[in-house]
Every structure is written in C-alpha cells, then in structure tokens.
C-alpha cells in the first residue's frame, strides 16, 4: 500500500472533432480512463480536477457542479464503462435498465421510454423483443450491445467507450467495433475510444493520443502515429506489438516498467526507459509541441531520433 498523491493526468490537452473517433491509448496507469472520468466529472472518491478546462458547447464542464453535470451526462456526453457489460443488474430486465436513464433524464413516461428502448435495441442489432430478457440470457457480445444502447438512450453527441471489446472473443470484437463505427456514421457521433490494444486503435480510430504516465506523449492522425511517429515511446510500443501480419521476427522490447504515479520520474517521465535519455531529459519536462499539422509530440529530441528505434537490433 502506498500513500501519496498520484498525478494521474498531468497537463493533457486535446480537441475532439465532431464525427471523429479519437483513441486514447496507453498502458495501465497512463491516465486514459482518468481523463475520461474527468470529462464526465465522475472521478472516484479522492480524485479531483486540480486545474484545466473541459470546453463543450461553449461551456467549461470543469467548473460545473454535480447537479449541473446531470444535464450533461447521458444527454450530451455518455460513457460505456470498462467491464460495464458484466455489471448489469442481474435481477432486472435489460429493458428496465435502459429505460431508467430515459425516464429520469427526458421526463418520459414508462411506455414512451420502453418504445425508445425497443428502437435502440434494433439500432444496435438486437431484436426489440429482447428488452424483456434478463442479462444472463445474453451472451457477452449482446450485453455489450445493450450497454451501447444505454449509452445512446438520450441522444448524446459524444460517446466515451472504455475498453469496449477487451473481454470479447475476436469474432464478436469485430462485430462490436463495426457496430460502433456504423452508429458513429449514422448518428454523427464523436467517439473517444480508450484501450491498451494498439490493433484495435489502428482499426477504428481517426486520430490517437498515446499516453504515458499521465501525459500525452504524442497525438496525431492514426497513419502518422503508426507509420511515422515522432516519440520514442510510440515507436517502441508499435514496433514491439505482436501481430499476425508483417515479418515474423524478434522484437526489441522497452526495458523497465511503467512508473509509479505517486513519484514519477523527473523531467520527461519516459526518460528512465528511453535509450536516448540525457541530462535535458532527466531534468526538463518536454514541451508538448506542434510538429506538423495536427500532430503534437512531447520529446526534446524527436527530430534527431525519429525512426531510430525501428532500426535498432533486438
């Protein structure tokens, strides 16, 4: 047990465009889930937003009180929590769980809400008659569809999906990701997709922010990030990700472990694991700078070391 303050999210800046899928990628403890929970103002007890702004529709969500956030959550921005599909109330019919939010947020009657639930089910590829089923009568993939239906219940414009396919078999995973993409197009949604799985990001996102130890290491469009990255962490992570495609060969791994956020490394948080670290890296936090249109990176030496990790021997 360790005591202390963990700076879970430190100086993170990004913009979400209408109709795009933005990925928040990174390993455990990098701050991706905390960032999402902050947007929703749903941080766990003890967590608080120290500073910063979350601008949505011209308003700063960071300054809103909990009761003011009630008008935002579910109606403007909704979230599918990690593992939510396994947290459905087992003794309530799924239809009732979906209508709960509609009744409360939209002041609808029970029958109006149920009608909406039925059409939501159809939207997510479930038979509308299934609103009267119990969670245990659904398979994993179907339960996740229920969670997606719930997230769309009050017509939000932004949906945050936290590890939406991690617990699903690969064939089902494909179908759910396709569903999310499909719904995004149909409803002009903006999606923030959080995952540690770089192959899922590659398949679904337009842009991605690679996070490390509470900060964004790099943010850009997905092709640039995967093919022409500027940050050594990004490059190392992507080249050392097992894949069924590409050359079969031994990868060079990143040494060491992700840091403890209660006492993160000084200067650049990645320096302890970076092959090019020097005094500057150890002492100065790198600026989060704009290196090309819509591409930001936080590294002192990006220009010099780009592409070098790929060339390194394992």
């Amino acid at each position: 047990m360790q005591e202390g303050t963990a700076r879970a999210v430190d100086d993170v800046t990004f913009t979400l465009k209408r109709g795009e899928t933005l990925g928040l990628a990174g390993e455990s403890g990098c701050g991706k889930t905390t960032t999402a929970l902050s947007i929703m103002k749903l941080l766990p007890p003890g967590g608080r937003i120290l500073k910063g702004e979350i601008i949505h529709d011209g308003e700063d969500l960071a300054k809103k009180t909990d009761s003011e956030m009630k008008a935002v959550r579910w109606k403007k921005i909704s979230i599918i929590f990690q593992g939510a599909m396994n947290a459905l109330n087992p003794v309530l019919r799924v239809g009732d769980q979906v209508t709960e939010a509609i009744i409360e947020k939209e002041n609808a009657t029970k029958s109006e809400a149920l009608q909406r639930a039925r059409s939501l089910f159809e939207l997510v590829g479930l038979d509308s008659s299934r609103v009267s089923y119990y969670p245990h009568e659904f398979s994993g993939g179907m339960r996740q569809r229920v969670m997606i239906a719930m997230a769309l219940a009050c017509n939000p414009s932004i949906v945050i999906a936290d590890e939406p396919v991690t617990a699903l078999d690969v064939v089902v995973q494909s179908k759910i990701l396709e569903l999310i993409k499909d719904l995004q197009r149909k409803l002009n949604l903006s999606v923030i997709l959080i995952t540690h799985d770089l192959s899922v990001i590659a398949e679904t996102c337009d842009r991605v922010a690679i996070m490390y130890a509470g900060k964004i290491a790099e943010l850009g469009n997905v092709t640039d990030i995967y093919k022409d990255s500027w940050h050594p962490y990004t490059e190392a992570l992507i080249t050392a990700f097992p894949s069924i495609a590409g050359e079969k060969k031994r990868f060079k791994s990143i040494p060491g472990d992700p840091p403890d956020l209660t006492s993160p490394p000084s200067g650049c948080r990645f320096h302890t694991r970076c092959p090019w670290q020097d005094d500057t890296c150890r002492n100065q936090v790198p600026e989060y700078r704009n290196v090309s249109p819509d591409h930001h990176v936080a590294c002192h030496y990006s220009e010099k070391i780009r592409g070098k990790f790929r060339g390194a021997k394992p």
Binding site: S174, E203, Y226, P242
Partner: protein
C-alpha cells in the same frame, strides 16, 4: 523426452444432479497432438475451447475421463500418485495472473524455495538458495539476492510474472506449460516476457505448451499450433502456415477477424454468425456448423475427423478438399 501425445475422448466436466439427470460437459473431446522436444506448441482458441482444460489434464491437475498422455515414455494418466509426483518436477506451469499465482505472504526466496522443499530436491539450505539465485538470474531479476528478499507487493506485474517463471524453472523441468502468461501484462512488458521465454527455451532446450486466445502472441512465440473450438481440434500445424494460409472455415474466420496494429492494412473480414455456444448445448455433428458459412446437411449430422491435409497439417472439416488450393 521425445514426444508428448495427448488424447482424451469424452471427458467428464460438470455433473448436474438436478432431478437425478447426469449431464456431461465435453470440455475436451478426443484431442490428439504431439509436441516435439525444444519446440513451442500453442494451444489456441477462444473462451470455452478447452485449451486450458487440456493443458491442466496434461499435468494431471484435473482428471481426464480417458486418453493417454505420453511423456518420457510413460503414460502419465496411468501412473501412481508417487510416480506422478516425481515426474511432476519435470513439468511445470506458469499461470495467467501474476497477482493471484504467487503467495503475497511469502518472500521471493520462500516462494522459490517451496518447490525444492516440497519435492525434496537440494538437500541443504545453501544448495536451495543457490538454485533460487540462479533461477532469479535466469529471469533477469538482478541482483538476485536483492530480489530474493522482496515480497510480491514490492514487485510490478512483469516482475511478479518473472518470479512465477523462476518458480517454474527452479526444479529444472523439461516441459513448461504457460497459460496466457502475458495476457494480463502491459503491452510494453509483454514482449519482454515473451523474449525471456524464448531465451530460456534456447538456453535450456525447454519444451513449451503455450495456451492463448491471442493469435498474434501465438505467432510470435510458437512453432506449431493447435486451433481448438468447443473441446475439439479444428486445425493444427506449423503456426506460420496456419496464420498465412488457414484451411478450416473456423480458422479462416478467426484469422480474418484478428485486428492488426497497422491502419494501412485493410482486411476482408469473414462474418460469422452468433457466438460460441455453451458446451452444455453442444451442436450436433460438426461443432462449428451453426455458425459456419459453408455448412451443409452432413455437417449437421456427422462430426468430421481430424485428417491430414499436408505435411504436419491437419484439419477437421468435411470439405477439406475444397479449401486446399
């Protein structure tokens, strides 16, 4: 150890005693394969495929209903408890969860000494300690004396998994069974551990039975692969061949749906209906038929045999001939 043959027809899993009805879950049904010494054999499949059950039965951790497991010339399943115990030293396991599989109340030294003490290997405390330090060196937890003093809560997930591997190595086994050993680890740590396992295999000529649902991992570490579905083998052969040129409809569908970490590669997905049914509701005939895009009448009535379709390649589909180019 030369060849390991594993064969279990109709295995008893869970018995339902409601209303006096006896139900059997065919968790693993008639599975046969061989693993060559020094090679990495991957048991791959999705949830409910029977891969973990197969591996545990190989180690005698669960009772098989029938079958033969040949290891170093012995049929493991017919050995006495005493004989099995001796043989167990040569077969070790690494579990998936580095937080659950090592005792939080024991120091690393105690954790690694335990198998030596239990199996009465190494007579003196000094000899035991030496073996422990050697194992810690093997898994690159350096300096070993420093790590030996630590407790699990002082270690990261990757370090704990190294301890679990060290514990498996301390008895100098010939066979290592690894059940999703990196699935719970962060991406940057996974390749570290996979590379470690490959290094150890080379150094000690170890044989691996590697269980995973992740085909990318299987490809990275494996030589051969067995694709399982609902307790049966659908396809088997060299991993690179299976991944680049799958024959069985299930394998083809599986591979086409695995995402790759490259946004410039666009792949055609083979859509598969539904989800894997429960083993209690086992489909008739070919277990994959309700979801197979090519299913015909014979698939509903007759279970296909696992047939040889090439050198070292096997596939269990009535229409193997159609798929072989």
């Amino acid at each position: 150890m030369d060849n390991l043959s594993v064969w279990f027809p109709a295995r008893k899993g869970i018995a339902s005693t409601f209303a006096g009805k006896q139900e059997w879950v065919h968790a693993v049904d008639d599975v046969s394969f061989s693993v060559r010494k020094g090679e990495v054999m991957c048991l791959a499949g999705e949830s409910g495929s029977g891969k973990t059950t197969t591996a545990r039965a190989v180690l005698g951790l669960i009772k098989a209903k029938s079958g033969i497991v040949r290891f170093e010339g012995n049929d493991i399943l017919s050995l006495s408890k005493k004989e099995l115990r001796k043989l167990r030293c040569k077969m070790q396991i690494i579990f998936q969860d580095p937080y659950e599989s090592i005792d939080p109340r024991m120091s690393v030294l105690e954790i690694l000494s335990e198998p030596l003490e239990v199996n009465k290997v190494a007579r003196s405390r000094q000899e035991r300690e030496e073996r422990v330090y050697k194992a810690l060196e093997d898994v690159r937890l350096l300096p070993p004396r420093e790590f030996a003093r630590r407790f699990p809560h002082e270690l990261s997930g990757g370090q704990r998994q190294r301890v679990a591997i060290a514990r498996a190595l301390v008895l100098e086994p010939g066979l290592l069974v690894a059940d999703e050993p990196v699935s719970m680890l962060d991406a940057s740590i996974r390749v570290q551990i996979l590379n470690l396992l490959l290094d150890l295999r080379e150094e000690y000529d170890l044989t691996f039975l590697y269980i995973t649902h992740d085909l990318a991992q299987a490809r990275y570490i494996g030589n051969d692969i067995v694709i399982m579905y609902l307790g049966r083998i659908m396809e088997s052969g060299p991993v690179e061949e299976i991944v680049s040129n799958p024959v069985h409809p299930y394998t083809k569908a599986l591979i086409s749906n695995v995402p790759v970490p490259d946004p410039t590669i666009k792949r055609d997905r083979i859509a598969v209906k539904g989800e894997t049914p429960s083993a209690l509701d086992m489909p008739s005939g070919c277990r994959f038929h309700p979801r197979c895009p090519y299913a015909e009448e014979i698939c509903r009535t007759k279970e296909p045999e696992l047939l040889r379709i090439g050198s070292a390649r096997y596939s269990a589909c009535h229409f193997n001939d159609r798929w072989i180019s």
